[in-house]
Each structure stands twice: as structure tokens, then as C-alpha cells.
Symmetry: C2
Subunit: 275 residues, 2 copies
Amino acid sequence: MRSLTNYSKLCVHTQTNKPWTIEECITQYAAAGVSAISIWRHLLEGKDLSEIKELLIKNQMEVVALVRGGFFPSVDDKQRALVLEDNRLAMEQATALGAPQVVLVCGADPNQSLKVSRQQIKEGIIALLPQAEQLGVKLSIEPLHPMYAGDKSAISSLGQANDLCEEIDSPWVGVAIDVYHLWWDDQLEKEIYRCGKSDNIFAFHVCDWRVPTIDFLTDRGLMGEGCIPVKQIREWVEKAGFDGYNEVEVFSERLWAQDQKLYLEHIKKAYLNHS
Amino acid sequence: MRSLTNYSKLCVHTQTNKPWTIEECITQYAAAGVSAISIWRHLLEGKDLSEIKELLIKNQMEVVALVRGGFFPSVDDKQRALVLEDNRLAMEQATALGAPQVVLVCGADPNQSLKVSRQQIKEGIIALLPQAEQLGVKLSIEPLHPMYAGDKSAISSLGQANDLCEEIDSPWVGVAIDVYHLWWDDQLEKEIYRCGKSDNIFAFHVCDWRVPTIDFLTDRGLMGEGCIPVKQIREWVEKAGFDGYNEVEVFSERLWAQDQKLYLEHIKKAYLNHS
């Protein structure tokens, strides 16, 4: 497998360095030679987006994605309408920051069947298409690990995400492939080639699965700390035609407790050695 | 969906009532009108199996399964050989207790690829076939939730378990379908009918998935406490030709902390109302 030899394709999610503000993420990533960022929306609350955009330009920082929209399903009609408004706001924020895509965590409501939740996800994305096209913002369906099927995502495999993309059939809708969510699936390689054929791979996220994992949300590992064959999956994604960024997205209480500048250097090492 | 109206198909796993000894499980289940049990092996340590067998007969208690064998994969050859011996012991214990099947938690070694682990699982099961046939003990492959793919089971979906059964192609090898592990899968109904066609459904386990789930191992819910469509899945399994027991298998610190006799009555209510 071909190794990564430089940082030209390295992108870091702001949530990976949760203790930092958006301004700190931008300036620290730039200082460390990281030239791309995926921005989590809660960091934008109360901020003037034109100032953030200016800081990004000043630091020659490319925005890979705005994270995250989605959460479409609900038994409550009003809630579903509210969520569509929030997704429209996300697309406007993406436009303001120059982010080409909004990553969708699709959602699930445990008070209804997965089948109904999946239908509502499809209807939600279709409702957003006119604005996506108008603004030129892509929508990336991120299948989440089946351990989140109860309340976070009724889309649990790349096969399902591909089915959904093919049903919606829009150049503005594709997938975000995250090794953490999908590494266990014996259909993964096949499904990566399937979405590659339609140019539907919009994003690629890396981290690792620790053994044992002790928390459902905040015990991810840095690449090399777990059992995911990250390099192997990156090779499949590249073979499928993807040439975008490798986005480091790690949620970890353990790693958030470290000095974040030192941790960023560990991220860079792990990126070259294990992804 | 057809409701359950009596306890004739109710089986309880001893681990559901973890605070109880094997003797307490047998006598308490019988006193409560539960006529079938699946026995976890650690309860047999230091016991005279003929005495347990006698107690089972005295209480007219049917043994549905011995739990558990498996754990085949390892980077270490010696460890793999040891594990085969342990599986042979499990089959002997099953015979001694009159259990028609041993449930297999197939295992995974995070130090090698899932592909290699899956190959070792297949080889392990094949190595056990002569003794399975000789003793008349069935081996039930239980696919585990993908959140256990790191170290407990490289078999994460019913589709994979079905593939494995078809490759091994023995009347002594089938699957144990546990709603907790498989409910999220959009291929589940189809794969249930697939293994039903080959008479490969050896066991059906019920419980529920709580939202939120706070522990990877011991936060299962009683049927009705979560979001799994247990009745729906039972209907599919019955439509596929299965007419065995519905085995209640719940691991829960919360429920183990309750008075176990009262809890057993709750189990019976949940069984009729939500499974």
C-alpha cells in the first residue's frame, strides 16, 4: 500500500481538537503546516462568519466540510420542519465560509421504525436539493456505525447510503466514508467501488477503533491505536477515484486532555505512519 | 402480528439472572412456570453435571442451548489449538446436560485482519464437525453486533453467518439469531428467510436496545424497554419456519440489581406484551 509522505491531503476536524476555539484551530493548524480544516458548526455560534472567512484566507486554510447537518427523522412533523430550516442555515453557513459540502448525520427516531426514519431521511434530503443546487453546496450522507441506529443514524452501512444516493440521483448528493463507522463491514470494499463509479465519494474520514472501546461517543483512537486497517481502506477509496482530503476526526476525552499543540504533532505522525 | 399468549416457547438464559446459581435458575424458573433454560458454562465450574442433569429432569426443565463456545481466531497457533479443546469440552458438557446445541461467539483477534479471523473461524468450526456429528450436538453461529468486531466476533451480520454456513454445508452448523445484534440491518428480513430455507435457524434470542445505551456489554433492555421491533423480527423468524424457543438473554447491571424473583415476573410480562 502506498504511504502518505506529506501533509498536502491532511485535513483536521475542529472537533478533534475540541478544547480549541475556531480561531485557535485555524491559526494552530496553519502554524503546524496543516492546510485544510473541517469546521464543526457549534464553534460558529455568535461569530461573524465574514471574520472567520477572512482568518481562513489569511492563513491559506482550505475548508473541506461544514459539520454537521441532517437529523431528519422525527415522529413530530413540526420538528422535521424545524430541522429542514437548520439544514438550510447550514448550507448558508457553508457558502459563507467557502465549504463545498455539509456532512449529514442522518438521524433516527427510536419511536418509529427504521424504515420510516429512512423514508424521512430521503424526503428531507430531497427537500434540500433546490437550495443545494442554487448555492452549489454538496450534501454528504455519512453512514454511522450500527451502534448509533437507535437515535443518531438509520443509515448504518455504505450499501444503504449508496442505495439512498442512487434513489435521490443528484450530483449534489454523495457519501462521506468514515473508517470508524464502516471498517467491520465485509461489503465495504465492494460498496466503495460502487459509489466511486458514480463520483459519489465526497469525503473520507480517518481515526481508529480501540480495543476495548469504553465509551459510545468519546473513545476513538488516533490512527495506529486500534484495529482498523486505515491504509487498506484509503487504498480502496483512492482506487475508487477519490483524490480529496483525508480528514482526521477523533473524539476522545483521553486525547482532549492532552496539550493540544503536542497532540497535533502526534496527529501528524500518526497520519504519515498509520493512514 | 400474532401475540404470544403463553409461556410454552419461553426460555431464559441463566445469565439473564446472573445473581442466581445454576440450581437457583433451574428451581426458580420451574416455580415460575418457565420450562426451558439456556445454560452459561461458567455456572458449571466445579459442578457434577450428572447432578445438574438430575435437577433438570426433576424440574422438567428443557435445556435449549449451552452458552458458549467459539472464540476461534488468534495470531497464536497454540491459543487456537487450546480453544478447539475448550469447544470440544463444551460439546461434551452439552451432551451431559442434554443440550442439543452449543452457541458460538466466534471471536476476533484485533492483531490480525477480519479476513484472517474469519478464515480461522471457518477452520475452527470445520475441525469440530466430526465430534459434533458423533455427539449429535449442533453448533450455532451467533453473529454479534458490529460494535464487537474488534475482539469478540468477526461475524457481524446474518448475511456473513449465512455465507459461512453455506460454505461449511453441514446439518450440524446453523445460526443463532439475536435481535440485539442484528435489528439495525436492512438486510435482516431477507437473510432470515435465506437461512430458514436451509433449516439453519437453530436459535432465536430476544431483549431490547435502550436509547441511550451506556455500556457496551451490560446495558441491554427487557423487551419493550427499547427500540427493537422484537415482534416483527419474531414474525419473520417464524415465517422462515423456526418453531423453537424464544430465548430471553438480557445482560443488565440495572436489572441484576433488582430482586430476581420479581424481575422474573417482569420478564414474563415483557415476554407476552413485547415479544
